[in-house]
Symmetry: C3
Subunit: 305 residues, 3 copies
């Protein structure tokens, strides 16, 4: 089992700690903490509760009035420090290609990338280094994935998009779905989510973007960097989600919608095809989505007694 | 093929039937019933149609004015009796671990539990007795499952939750997702649904709870007993769903929502983060969810001509 | 690599072209077109841009005022012609049953049907000719599939429906889910979608119907022919969707809803249990769904400033 020493912590967190040779083996919440565990506390009342737990080390904020002692480590942002320590532990994950995973000839897998049982990587796919690919994942040809990505179990990447042309006989023929899918570094995609490849051209997910479970991203969508997509969001073809935007759970976007940089769209919100919403840090809500203040005003008017 | 005799029926249904040695091999609807089939009818007009079918045995309500004959069996609740007979037949399912299922060393599988093709049970997982696990199911480490559970094909249990901490560089680092998932007896989960493990601590699904297809249950949600969750429901982290609550299809819950005991929330309803709705047997509707009477009043006001 | 000659094009598109022996190897968008690529343009400005690309052949509308030259082929509907050429290329797909696919004894697979890695076809399933079945697909017993169907990766067909009967002890017993699933010719189903078999009787998807990713179709739903179902739509048990209807993304239908022939229901729309909406070519929106004109009128009234 990996254990992190105080010296390791100095490096991970960039803080100076002298003369302490202890080591810790895990991260915990207060309830199940033990002497080998690190916990974090973001404010004074949480610090008090943390110190009542059995945790061996408590990450506390610098502004804390807590008297320093060997159980307490003051850092700028305890939750972030806790996450960094988590990442440190994660690097001890074994990077194994499971024997039942199927990596086709012509696929390229980077170093220290793990692939779970039953997953398929088709020919021509390129996967970067240190990725974690879960079980029963399917990655179709034409997909290119950066480094340090996480694809949870059941994810399907590079599926054919949903586009049809109606013929003179009233029947639908699939529009060619022969494009590609590009995924940047540090992207994470939740269980059973699906991302279609481009019809012609590319579907694209920018560096650092995080996607929750059961999300649907259609052909030719372009997602920027550090975008947050909560569970069960669905977007139709050719949407653009700019850097740092956040979509709440079950949000639905019509075709060719643009979500501007840093916009936050609340859960279950919807945007009609071709529309654009904008405003860094602005919160939108409802269907059709509107600024939250207007949404609440209309809701109050509707629900007046 | 299994067949159920009148004597078996006496035991399954707790009714007394004398001097009849027939046996039946299947359950059916009226349209495809045959002499070896059992059907049920809940009211007099259904009884009449049932008797016109070729069914060998018709379960009818005790209050029925139907003249008793060898084709008719009166029980308190015919639909429930029909379901109990279904359960009797189900016990003849073979309990096979498919040769392509992968049960890792250190996983514990109870007696008479079946596991379908391509499924993965990671090390440390505990599964009770008489469970039915479909094909291409993934059960991650840290998951503990009771007895008589049903996990349909494509289910993912114990995936990592969706929680990130933004660093000073504007980039997200995953909050540690190192908790567990506990599932009680008699829980059933539909195809391609996903249940995340706790971040720290536990995600928990109580005894007897039934979950439909494509449902998303986030980290640290606590579901009580005999809860009903229809398809495509999504709940964010740390929600609490108390005993006997019912969520309609596509319901969405924000973080830390509480749904009180026995509450019924209609399809597509939404509850904002941190809110609680309460009232045993009360029906709520809409987003933000409100009592159905108020919802209908507001709807009528909005849609007045 | 397959290449399509001008002579092949004559046959595929039913147009007459004389004295040209060129061949093309792929379909493309303008941006990545090359001399071996075919593109299409639906109007004059697109034609101009197409001719600026490096495409070897441009499909243009008959009404185009474009001077004929060897790079231009005038057809009645260029996009449809492009799709037909795509279908021509698709027929060169290899029809392989992957070595890790599991076709159980007693399943019947038609000629030239391909089955991807990790997929399971249970005993008794019948699949027609020239179907494409992706990876990690699960097809349960009691399912019958026509010819030329596409089932993308992660699809689950014939799962048990969501129906329970509450007993006198307050606990739920599953209502028997012993019916079948029938899927017509030319049906296409997107990644990670789920279709339950009938409880008693049949679930049915008519010829030519197209279904996107992460869709849920419950037990005993009857879908007509040439129906379009966008991503993340969910329908409860026993719904009827008549021929040519279109459901936008994230639409939700209660039990026993009927969507009339040719009705279009916009994204996120909802229909209450037992209701019917009708009107060929009519557009409905909202929850509960109403004709789009009324929806917009109410929206304008609500959002007046």
């Amino acid at each position: 089992m990996a254990s992190i020493t105080i010296k390791d912590l100095q490096e991970v967190l960039g803080v100076a700690i002298s003369g302490d040779h202890r080591a810790f083996t895990r991260l915990a919440g207060f309830a199940d903490a033990s002497e080998d565990a690190i916990v974090f506390a973001e404010n004074e009342s949480a610090v008090a509760r943390a110190l009542e737990s059995k945790a061996g080390l408590v990450l506390v904020p610098l502004v804390s009035a807590i008297v320093a002692n060997h159980r307490v480590l003051a850092v700028k942002n305890p939750k972030y420090a806790f996450a960094l320590i988590g990442r440190w532990f994660d690097e001890f994950n074994s990077a194994v290609v499971h024997e039942t995973a199927r990596v086709e000839v012509g696929a390229t897998i980077g170093e220290k990338t793990s692939i779970g049982a039953g997953s398929l990587i088709e020919s021509g796919v390129v996967v970067g280094e240190r990725c974690e690919i879960g079980a029963n994942v399917t990655i179709h040809a034409g997909t290119r994935i950066g480094s340090r990505c996480v694809l949870q179990s059941g994810v399907v990447l590079g599926s054919a998009g949903f586009g049809y042309v109606k013929g003179p006989d009233g029947r639908y023929v699939r529009f060619p779905q022969r494009g590609t899918l590009w995924i940047g570094d540090d992207v994470e995609i939740g269980a059973n989510s699906t991302v279609d490849r481009g019809a012609l051209g590319e579907t694209r997910i920018g560096r650092g973007t995080k996607i929750d479970n059961l999300v649907h991203i259609a052909h030719n969508c372009i997602l920027g960097e550090d975008v947050i997509i909560a569970a069960q969001v669905g977007m139709a073809g050719s949407c653009v989600i700019e850097d740092g935007a956040m979509l709440g759970g079950q949000v639905g976007l019509g075709e060719r919608v643009t979500i501007g940089k840093g916009v936050m769209l609340g859960g279950q919100g919807g945007v009609l095809p071709g529309k654009r919403i904008d405003g860094e840090g602005q919160v939108f809500w409802g269907t059709p989505a509107q600024p939250v203040r207007e949404y609440l005003r209309d809701l109050a008017r509707l629900r007046k007694r």
